[in-house]
């Protein structure tokens, strides 16, 4: 498999350095860590931080900037960052008003972020957290570790960042973030596996006429393998599951997210059908995002995210943000 890499062991390091080199005025790297932070975090503002495995670019560091994240801890590819690195990020980002940790529901992320939060509290940093679990493909039952956190996380970053930027205190920022968690759903599909740099071959084998439905964001197989369908059929299948779960009324915000290897044209085709479906259900799309927001390396495929809106969420989504990957 051909990739633009040097040594797979340097993949994350070199990616982070390149990212800082692209945004030297806005972003810096904490020495001897894989943590990127905003160069200037306003004094007295609640810091919003996140992180997780690498391979999901532009998540996480792409959302560093005014109106979104203050810190992003990168782990190795598809591996959560260590508790030590998250703790360094939390301490570095605290501007005196506390820090909100946005965690995706994977055991490694939850364990390392919670440990880091406890460590930071011992240094008198006030910490709160939300755990994103928007993946509707996974049953939330005793047979799973709960639902996964996937692309809905971007809406959480946006809303929490906006609330913090508007001067909300730690509890207000946490509450706004939790409101998104409670009202968002996502489901994804893979047309191909991705290839991790260390492994160098596809994580799972998929026939030419097969796709995986209900995938996460780590190149793992989905909940079901089915025959290839048309874009409209895929959009129907994903959107129906998401809408049945979120059950919105009135206005929604949507994301058609590329998994890293999907042309924007195909994402627009899926978005076209998604918007038709919303109309058929009597829903109004207040905002529709289309692009690569939460990727899985070079995987081909997409996910559909729907957020049920109220006035507060609309205001916070519309609040200005200035980051490498998203500008509002």
């Amino acid at each position: 498999m051909k990739k633009l890499i040097n040594d797979p062991a340097d993949y994350v390091d070199e990616m982070l350095d390149g990212m800082v080199a692209a945004h030297p005025e806005e972003i810096r790297r904490l020495p001897d860590t894989k943590v990127l932070v905003r160069r200037e975090i306003p004094e007295g503002k609640v810091a919003v931080v996140s992180g997780g495995g690498s391979g999901h670019e532009p998540t996480h560091a792409g959302y560093l900037g005014p109106g979104m994240l203050d810190g992003a801890a990168a782990g190795e590819v598809f591996t959560s960052p260590t508790a030590n690195e998250v703790q360094e990020m939390v301490t570095a980002c605290d501007a005196g008003a506390g820090v909100l940790l946005v965690i995706k529901n994977y055991e490694g992320d939850v364990m390392n972020f919670e440990t880091a939060g406890e460590m930071a509290e011992m240094e008198d940093v006030e910490v709160a957290q939300v755990v994103v679990n928007d993946d509707v493909a996974v049953e939330d039952s005793t047979y799973t570790s709960g639902r996964r956190g996937v692309c809905g996380t971007i809406f959480v970053h946006k809303v929490a960042g906006a609330m913090a930027d508007r001067g909300g205190d730690l509890e207000e920022v946490r509450r706004a973030a939790q409101k998104v968690v409670d009202n968002v759903g996502t489901m994804g599909t893979a047309l191909t596996s991705c290839v991790t740099p260390e492994k160098g071959s596809p994580t799972f084998d998929l026939g030419e006429d097969e796709i995986e439905i209900g995938i996460g964001i780590h190149g793992e197989p989905g909940v079901e393998r089915v025959e290839m369908m048309s874009a409209d059929e895929i959009a129907d299948r994903l959107a129906t599951a998401v809408l049945d779960d979120v059950d919105p009324e009135g206005e929604v915000a949507t994301i058609v997210n590329g998994m890293g290897g999907t042309p924007l044209s195909e994402l627009y085709i899926v978005n076209r059908r998604l918007q038709e479906l919303l109309g058929e259900r009597g829903l109004e799309t207040w905002d529709a995002w289309v692009g690569d927001y939460m990727t899985s390396l070079d995987m081909r495929g997409c996910s559909i995210t729907v957020l049920d809106l109220d006035d507060e969420l609309k205001e916070l989504l519309a609040h200005e943000a200035d980051t490498p990957a998203l500008t509002v």
């Binding site: 190795e76 260590t82 570790s145 492994k199 994580t203 793992e220 197989p221």
Partner: protein, 234 residues
């Protein structure tokens, strides 16, 4: 050589063997993880124990307890994911049991403390298709072999390795309810758990190190007053 120096040497040797073994099995563990996870387990544990090997060599005047704690802290800070806190946190937590050195009793206590921490932190019980499925039978078998069957530590360790191996086999036909594999639901059936497998490899290397360092000592322990009457023994 003093007992303390010998213990230290044995621990450094064990970490060295584990690091080599996991480096050798990196691709295999990653392959297992590809089937039901995210294809990073081999890379992660291999990187972690590689770093731990360097750390214990640098700290080789430390006590047994401190060396094992160093292993744990290194894993926590190098591995990330779930394997970092599970393996690392448990080595850190259990290292306290080795305060008085490495003995049959202290290693039983170590195993129990290790298992307790893994279960606490990961929230998994036996049957969830995780490393707990290998650690639990290994620890219980080791404890029983030492405390009830009066086996010498080396023989007890061999039985623990066998038990862990059966634990690994047990993960194959069951459905995962913890970890990333749980998201696959029934599709996780028929695949061996990579975490349980790396646990088995670690135990095998600890056993191999013990063979090197305990040879001859086992018999002495075995001939201690209490006479096993179960007719077992080799």
């Amino acid at each position: 050589m003093t007992d303390v120096a010998r213990e230290r040497e044995a621990i450094v040797a064990a970490v060295d063997r584990i690091a080599d073994r996991l480096a050798d099995e990196k691709a295999y563990l990653t392959e297992l993880d590809s089937a039901i996870g995210d294809a990073d387990h081999g890379t992660n544990v291999s990187r972690g124990f590689g770093a731990a090997r360097e750390a214990v060599v640098e700290a080789d005047d430390a006590s047994a307890e401190d060396l094992v704690k160093t292993v744990g802290m290194t894993l926590v800070s190098e591995v990330g994911g779930a394997a970092g806190p599970l393996y690392g946190g448990s080595f850190m937590h259990a290292s306290g049991e080795l305060e008085e050195g490495v003995t049959a009793a202290s290693t039983v206590a170590f195993g129990e403390a290790f298992l307790e921490k893994v279960r606490d932190r990961g929230g998994a019980e036996v049957g969830a298709k995780t490393m707990v499925d290998a650690i639990t039978p290994a620890v219980h078998t080791y404890k029983k072999s030492i405390e009830q069957d009066d086996l010498p530590p080396l023989a007890a360790l061999a039985k623990a390795v066998d038990a862990a191996e059966r634990g690994v086999d047990f993960t194959l036909p069951i459905r995962a309810t913890k970890g990333r594999a749980s998201y696959l639901g029934w599709r996780s059936v028929g695949h061996q758990d990579p975490g349980a497998t790396s646990t088995l490899f670690i135990l095998e290397e600890i056993h191999a190190t013990a063979e090197e360092y305990l040879n001859g000592e086992g018999e002495r322990d075995a001939s201690s007053p209490s006479t096993p009457d179960d007719g077992e023994g080799e």
